[in-house]
Assembly symmetry: C2
Homo-oligomer: 231 residues x 2
DNA sequence: CGAAGCTTTGACCTTGATCAATACGAGTGG
DNA sequence: CCACTCGTATTGATCAAGGTCAAAGCTTCG
């Protein structure tokens, strides 16, 4: 295994305030992992043994109901910590982490969590800020689900994906990870049929372009209108 | 102002591991507050200046949409910390805290948060455990909203209230705080009409008893069945 | 080429929202 | 004490959003 480069952690919030030497220590304690697309990094209910940092690829955090339906709780982009149950006193993972495409991640054993918190100034604060953001996002989802129509929820889901993973391409902004109608319906508590119908409509109206597992937003402002952001 | 008694904080998780003298310090730094029912302790968007511990009464954590609809994100029972945005790096409150009935709370200025974390062993860990529980609860709500029918969501909402605030009375378990049809609809993203119809039906079937702003569950097991806990 | 996964589209039906009317209880002021 | 009002609750009638059922087409891949 080759040595990991220190620049990997340079810009990432929890590590931002650290010395070069400290980052070296952290990297030396890390295990680097590769995953194919569509596999589980960890599963709901498993004991929390490690925490992760996603370096490349995209991860869907998924919960499954007793009835077998699944809903996507969260997406993780490169540079984000995930599986941080340790930070909030969980002993088992509350959800499953599925890779959406090929992924590279670092992993540390759980027992290092308190060590990092103890030794690295700002690590705890920055991490809890991330937790805070996710709580905020979850809160928004709850409000959305409770008050908005399916069309608005789907518009919001797409906008969220765009801001999190979007990249500019000719003619619009493309979502940087593979995404199916089914995925979108799992994010919004809807059905793939409804999502398909809506996307077809939007494509007819020139708001999006979509191919198999790919969506490009050509008129973001109009999507924002549709999302019900109180025009 | 009379001195606060140390027993107040005795059994409360974040303070559980502390010495008597430490509890004294904490209490001396606290401000005791009284609120009538139906008022805001703090409001969405306000800067986070204090954190609170609810001693008596009940609090609804509420978010309001641009369109004026409101949804209830969380209920706080006596003994719980709330308004702890400081813990997760928030600078403004993400929601409004409304008293459901008359309340008594302690408040500390925000700058004491890091002091508590620093000086009192276990304070941080226990608090983050609380955060973790709330995150879990929010997650469940999202899944519920995405996959369940209104009837199941309302059953679940009532069951949650029962476990959080229920007290045994003759003939069943009574929810320990005032709760209207409208409140229930705000918790489930439904309407007071639908809630009323369902409760009427349940009352006819002998599952609940309800008066004005009061609900008593007479057949909890049947409510659990209805809640869709995979029978 | 067949199979599996993704997408589209039409027809139909159920859930629960909306509209509307009424009633009841509790607090307030005359 | 009564009239008024406001917040709460009930119930019926109607309607539409979106789920379900069904069928078929298109890609990609082994």
């Amino acid at each position: 295994m080759h040595k990991l480069d220190e620049s990997l952690l340079a810009g990432i919030p929890p590590f931002r305030k650290l010395e070069r030497a400290q980052i070296r220590e952290i990297l030396d304690a890390a295990q680097a992992l590769r995953f194919d697309g569509g596999v589980a990094v960890f599963s709901e209910g498993m004991p929390v043994e490690r925490f992760f940092l996603l370096l490349d690829g995209h991860i869907r955090v998924v919960r499954t109901t007793p009835g077998g339906e699944q809903i996507i709780a969260l997406h993780i982009s490169p540079g984000q910590l995930f599986g941080i149950g340790a930070a909030i006193g969980r002993t088992t993972y509350p959800a499953t982490a599925m890779t959406a495409d090929d992924c590279v991640a670092l992993a540390w054993p759980n027992r290092l969590w308190p060590v990092f918190v103890e030794n690295y100034e700002g690590f705890a604060t920055e991490t809890y800020k991330v937790v805070g953001e996710r709580v905020g996002e979850m809160n928004n989802r709850i409000v959305e689900m409770a008050t908005q129509q399916v069309e608005q929820r789907i518009a919001n889901a797409i906008l969220r994906l765009v801001t999190q993973t979007g990249r500019k391409v000719e003619g619009g902004i493309e979502i940087g990870m593979p995404i199916t109608r089914q995925n979108l319906s799992d994010m919004t508590g809807s059905t793939l049929h409804t999502v398909s119908r809506l996307l077809s409509g939007w494509e007819r109206d020139g708001i999006v372009l979509s191919e198999r597992r790919k969506i490009t937003v050509t008129a973001p402002h109009r999507l924002v209108m549709l999302s019900g952001a109180a025009g």
